[in-house]
Symmetry: C3
Subunit: 321 residues, 3 copies
Amino acid sequence: MKKFFSVKDVASVSEVVNEALEQKANPYALESLGKHKTLGLVFLNPSLRTRLSTQKAAMNLGMNVMVMNMDKDGWALETQDGVVMNGTTVEHIREAAAVMGEYCDILGLRSFPKLKDREEDYSEDLFNKFIEYCGVPVVSLESATRHPLQSLTDLITITEYKNSKKPKVVLVWAPHVKALPQAVPNSFSEWMCQAQVEGLVEFTIAHPKGYQLSEEFTNGANISNNLEESIKDAEFLYVKNWSSYEQYGQVFPVTENWMMDNQKLALTNNAKVMHCLPVRRDLELSAEILDGPNSLVIKEAGNRVWAAQVVLKRMLESLAK
Amino acid sequence: MKKFFSVKDVASVSEVVNEALEQKANPYALESLGKHKTLGLVFLNPSLRTRLSTQKAAMNLGMNVMVMNMDKDGWALETQDGVVMNGTTVEHIREAAAVMGEYCDILGLRSFPKLKDREEDYSEDLFNKFIEYCGVPVVSLESATRHPLQSLTDLITITEYKNSKKPKVVLVWAPHVKALPQAVPNSFSEWMCQAQVEGLVEFTIAHPKGYQLSEEFTNGANISNNLEESIKDAEFLYVKNWSSYEQYGQVFPVTENWMMDNQKLALTNNAKVMHCLPVRRDLELSAEILDGPNSLVIKEAGNRVWAAQVVLKRMLESLAK
Amino acid sequence: MKKFFSVKDVASVSEVVNEALEQKANPYALESLGKHKTLGLVFLNPSLRTRLSTQKAAMNLGMNVMVMNMDKDGWALETQDGVVMNGTTVEHIREAAAVMGEYCDILGLRSFPKLKDREEDYSEDLFNKFIEYCGVPVVSLESATRHPLQSLTDLITITEYKNSKKPKVVLVWAPHVKALPQAVPNSFSEWMCQAQVEGLVEFTIAHPKGYQLSEEFTNGANISNNLEESIKDAEFLYVKNWSSYEQYGQVFPVTENWMMDNQKLALTNNAKVMHCLPVRRDLELSAEILDGPNSLVIKEAGNRVWAAQVVLKRMLESLAK
């Protein structure tokens, strides 16, 4: 594996989930695989879960880890070619990426969208250039449009906790005070659509009008604007806010109450409730659910380690060849 | 040991000091104890000595260390329950602590008081909630009211450098330009009071009127407002500024000169001088003392490693059970 | 080796380059040399290449690494003696350095000049005091006047890529939008002058009038204000901006075009082009050169590891004695 950026980077989601669960059952079995290998984690935006879980996964595999918080260093990167660099950008991504590739065997990169210009964000220009110039395998720690380690984690968690062969999984939009990226729901949706193709889940998306995601990510999903109807018989609810894709980055007033709570939970098949965290309590998701028996959010966060570990394992194996 | 927050978390201060000195004599003897164990250090406030010495101690024990500088990430934590999180706090401590507990076998937390509301600070609400929700052993890296790794360090240092069986130890207030927490003197006092009970020291506190500490921490100490009288025959002077506990967080003009200098040192039994650092030279403590033969401040700072190491050792042993 | 601050800290530049190339050929041969040894990297200014490459080198030698970004912690250090510390400085360098020396076997320090007061910057007061007070070997990660790890890297790179026994190397001034320190060119110059003494290179410096470096660093170099003439027959061009030493820290308008491009490159002996990075594209150096076959900048950055590794190796060997 030379790149982990979208669901297309794995041939089969079932296979990668099973491989991750093997890592979870035996965390240190491959401790010699990463000996003398260095993982560099580059954060252009803050991170808690992703940094800790990926570091942990790398250490389980015997790797060294170096973390670069570029957001705090104010080391502004130039991404455009043909620009005379007489402004505020200090280094071009061509050099920055190539140099990091000199010091690291595998690189991870986090870069959020600006939510100003849809074409720019959805071009994934920065990420693609980083991959192109660094010369080593790259794992996405969340890009402008996707968060694949989170989505793999989510499928691992669903696989562990499902009660039926093909559980109904519903991605449910939730309210928030800020305009958030579509990366998590895009990514969750493309992974669930593929899981549906492989016969692992039945997948539905529920959101208010105006919040449809790009079709690129939702192909095969059942999409509804009716919250109560869509969550009927659900075995898993995946609660998440996102801003509009159509009116890019905008937030509209939603008159109905989309916060997930016990009353709505009662309509489901005793659904397990998931969220990628951080979660706004009693805004996106009720405290009673988060503190109750149906919440999987902490176990889900814990599984981030195994998603990262299987990806790093595959990349280390490809280096060894 | 599941918690290291106050002197009450050790059955005997003599025992823990002796165990720490064994670690110092043989730093790598227990290097296999921490294999595959991860220490997470969470800083809500800056740190130099605490971070480096605790990291070093963990590495001596063979642990992996992950550091989270949450103060710099601006990742504001919500601590109150029943709050609709539609403001500036991004994550509730319930989730944040629990998630860190998923990735780490032991957690360290630093959180300073705000010095605005005494009840809030002295409730240690944040710390207690972190301990409750994270699900793994927690070592205090300094809380609103205590700095136990510093106090254990100080008793180790006194044990190493004492000339008599039961030396006179005096905690002496000193001037400063800022309003500082009571955490270090509170903690030093509760550790010295317990050391006095165990027959290791005789303990006196000297401060100007208005600067008395909470009685919760000073039970058994000899307390005086007369600097020169109180330091007579002292074998150890522990110099430290703090703001008022009574008029919480306030700083009063003090007309007498409380800065420790050679003239005052002459009144003691050639006392060794200690300070937790950072120290304001020629304000709290004279440069001549700091650069002279009576200063223990650097050796004291060096001993921070062994305080941290014995605490981590005990926690690792309790995990192994 | 107790100090790596200037070219004077190595007896022979040829020897240290050869030793570095041995490390490069066999990166993990000395992995047991650094066991139980800790490197502390103290940054008073931001760093990308230096931090990553030095961390990597230390890990190759089996060392533990602790990084302190003091610039971000806002932990202002006092460097003057005899000052009553009642202002904004929190800790004196005497204590800060000594304490770090308690926790680390080797320390690295980065501290940029302020470019306000030449005497202050060129006294290297902070660096000298840090070395004096910390009590352990110190490697410069760039000081006010020198960047020796960069210069050693550059000589390693020239040695690897040279086509003739004694190649002509030219340090060429380049335009920039900011006033930059003289540390890199000073250091490059003192290393090249010594390399010239040892018969390894022929060394020329080309810069516009007003940009002469301090003679302390350029003794033996051929110095010219004529760009085109000076680069004739050059086998290596080392492109770098710096502010004025004479009119300290000032930047003058330069009417001629000093940006290095293919047209000027054609005047050389098909010179390899070097730059310490970060580089401003199409301002200091043309994009066509950076993306073309003559650029060594990425390989040069990669060699930072071996410069750091040979220095740490020598320091570890001196500790073992």
